[in-house]
Amino acid sequence: MVDVAILVSVGRHPASGQARRAPSDARALELAFGLPPGRRDALHAGDPTNPALRDYLGMGLERLTVLAMAEGRDPTDALAARLRGLSPGIILTGNQAEGGEDSGMLPYVVAQALGLAIVPDVVAIALDAEGRTAEVVQALARGQRRALRVELPFVATVHPAAPAARPSAFGPARRGRIEVVPVDAPPDAFLTACAARPWRDRPKRLSVGAAGGGTGGALERLRAATEAKAGQGRVLVEPSPDEAARAIWDYLQEQGMQPR
């Protein structure tokens, strides 16, 4: 038995700009469905009438609690207060929102407010028999994985490499209940101080021949663009297969690609 709270947000389709379920939040919900049975509380802070919220209900959730607040309000205090009341064993959320401030700060602020441990970039969670500690797998760069052990309760942010979320079904999405809890949230002063405008792509910074980088300037840039890189060029001509294999093996060890 483990109680899980899932924090979900509303995403934004990158091409059409349509509101949709945020992909990593949906993965967090999927991960929660895979855990041993217990209470599942899904929380959203924002506009309760947003149709994209029904996508989460369509995944098989019966009830979604929405802390209703206007746009531009700081949801962290309200969420932390609500979670303190629920006191779940695991709090799951996506590792980055899509469509809001997208700073990825919220789970950290919540964990800090509740005094919980936080595990970032989670792809799998396995609970031990008593349900007191969990073995968590994290996704790292280059497809690597790291396992670690953490005591309940904790906060985990879910990585996009986690198992894909199930599709949302129409029937459950209609049947699911959205419970609206009006809350009083302070305006977000940090965000109001920022100027917002549509994003425009910037030219990519060249790493070769840039002001501080290389020495050659234009010549070096031309070279980097036109020439294939030449290697260090150690050549073994017609070695016996064993010599060749030995040379490759030693080189791989030298480069740290094989254990010594």
Binding site: R12, P14, G17, E98, G99, E101, D102, S103, G104, M105, Y108, A111, Q112, A117, I118, P120, V137, L140, A141, R142, G143, Q144, R146, A147, L148, R149, F190, C194, A195, A196, P198, W199, R202, K204, R205, A210, A211, G212, G213, L219, A228, G231, G233, R234, V235, L236, E238, P239, P241, A244, A245, A247, I248, W249, Y251, Q255, M257, Q258, P259, R260
Partner: protein, 406 residues
């Protein structure tokens, strides 16, 4: 030997001592030797030798006058050696108006390109307010001064290798409390971004995450699912996206060491961190670290698959191989396949067509086995072996099976 070109006209003018009432010249040649001006005589042969960067496999010239000193002195004996680029003068900031922290990642104990960019960003902010850049990172053998750090707060060197985000965050929070820096900069990388959020949350402040453009008065980042640009004056906690700032050129700073602050050794909540073995073929080709690649010269696909498993390498192939169905399409390296960024690329029987070489442009080390000495892949390789792939693969498989004790 710079022979001076004689300029008779100038010599004649130099000898003139009197023009009125009539022109008179000095005839003593010594008197004018020093002042024989004019341009230095051009020596095209020496200039060409000077500009020669390499003669084999083909001639390459560099007329910009920035050729390497060594090549110059060899090709043109007697000519003055070009001075080595002067070391930049040491810049000491004795009484900084404020401090700018740069919390470096140092993944696997080495400074990454992202870390260098972070130091450049910190430098930019520091120079605007006469501040000093403080590098906060696990200790190591780096030359912090040449990287642009005025001060260094060394953390235990072991933290670079282990996963200790809580201890790192605690140390940073303590350092921030003690020195109260104006800005704290983090790299927006998986580990650095995590650390940034931990520290910002612990300090009760907001993080301006993933800065894409930075100046002393304004920072901007992407938000709203990538559709909006948020900008404001630099806030206290910033995390800098990769490639947003150019790294510093030649600089020399003091890199004075500060004592790391004491932190209470709280028991970490995340324990027993360890790397898990991953199936190399499950890793996307674009992010694979070690790739074993086959071309048209490979016919023994069973040994190839075994070798990939034994070496723990992600399998890939050239277009010919994928067209023939020996490997799935998503394993094709090259212009019409995947551009890979592996650290090591082991190629068997690949000719190295331009379309293929484009795909391995970002690879650090290439090992090539090919029967053709003149294949383009052999030129690109750091270790090239001219042998039959079908003979080398089983031998390497045997060696890998024995763990290198053959």
């Amino acid at each position: 030997m710079t022979a001076r070109r004689r300029d008779p006209r100038a010599e004649r003018t130099a000898r003139i001592v009197q023009t009125e009432p009539r022109r008179r010249l000095v005839l003593d040649p010594d008197a004018i030797a020093a002042s024989s001006g004019g341009r230095p005589r051009r020596d095209p042969r020496a200039r060409r030798a000077d500009a020669t960067l390499q003669t084999a496999p083909r001639l390459r010239l560099d007329w910009t006058g920035k050729g390497t000193g060594a090549a110059v002195s060899m090709s043109a004996p007697g000519r003055g050696q070009r001075a080595a680029p002067a070391a930049p003068p040491l810049r000491v900031i004795e009484n900084p108006a404020c401090l700018i922290f740069a919390a470096l990642d140092r993944p696997d104990g080495a400074l990454s390109a992202h870390d260098r960019q972070l130091l450049a960003a910190a430098r930019l902010l520091a120079d605007a307010v006469d501040g000093a850049v403080v590098a906060v990172a696990p200790d190591g053998a780096d030359d912090w001064g040449a990287l642009g750090a005025d001060r260094v707060i060394p953390l235990p060197a072991a933290w670079a290798a282990e996963y200790a985000p809580e201890r790192r965050a605690a140390a940073l929070v303590a350092a921030i409390a003690r020195w109260s820096p104006l800005h704290v900069l983090f790299p927006e990388s998986p580990e650095g971004g995590d650390l940034a959020r931990r520290v910002a949350a612990a300090c009760g402040e907001r993080l301006f995450a993933g800065v894409e453009s930075l100046s002393a008065s304004r920072v901007a980042r992407r938000a709203g699912g990538g559709a909006t640009e948020l900008s404001c004056a630099p806030s206290r906690f910033l995390s800098i996206a990769a490639d947003a700032v150019a790294p510093l050129g030649a600089v020399r700073h003091e890199a004075r060491r500060l004592d790391p602050p004491e932190t209470s050794p709280d028991a970490p909540k995340l324990r027993e961190a360890r790397r898990l073995p991953v199936d190399p073929d499950g890793v996307g080709l674009g992010e694979a670290d070690f790739i074993l690649s086959a071309g048209n010269g490979v016919t023994d696909w069973v040994v190839f698959a075994d070798l990939g498993r034994a070496l723990g390498a992600t399998r890939a192939g050239s277009r010919v191989v994928c067209d023939a169905g020996h490997l799935p399409r998503d394993r094709q390296v090259g212009a019409s396949g995947t551009v890979v960024s592996a650290r090591c690329y082991l190629a068997f029987g690949i000719a190295g067509a331009p379309q293929h070489l484009q795909g391995v442009g970002g690879v650090e080390r290439v090992v090539a086995v090919n029967t053709d000495l003149h294949a383009a892949m052999i030129k690109r390789a750091d270790l090239a072996i001219i042998a039959d792939a079908q003979a080398v693969m089983p031998a390497l498989l045997r060696l890998a099976g024995e763990g290198g004790h053959g």
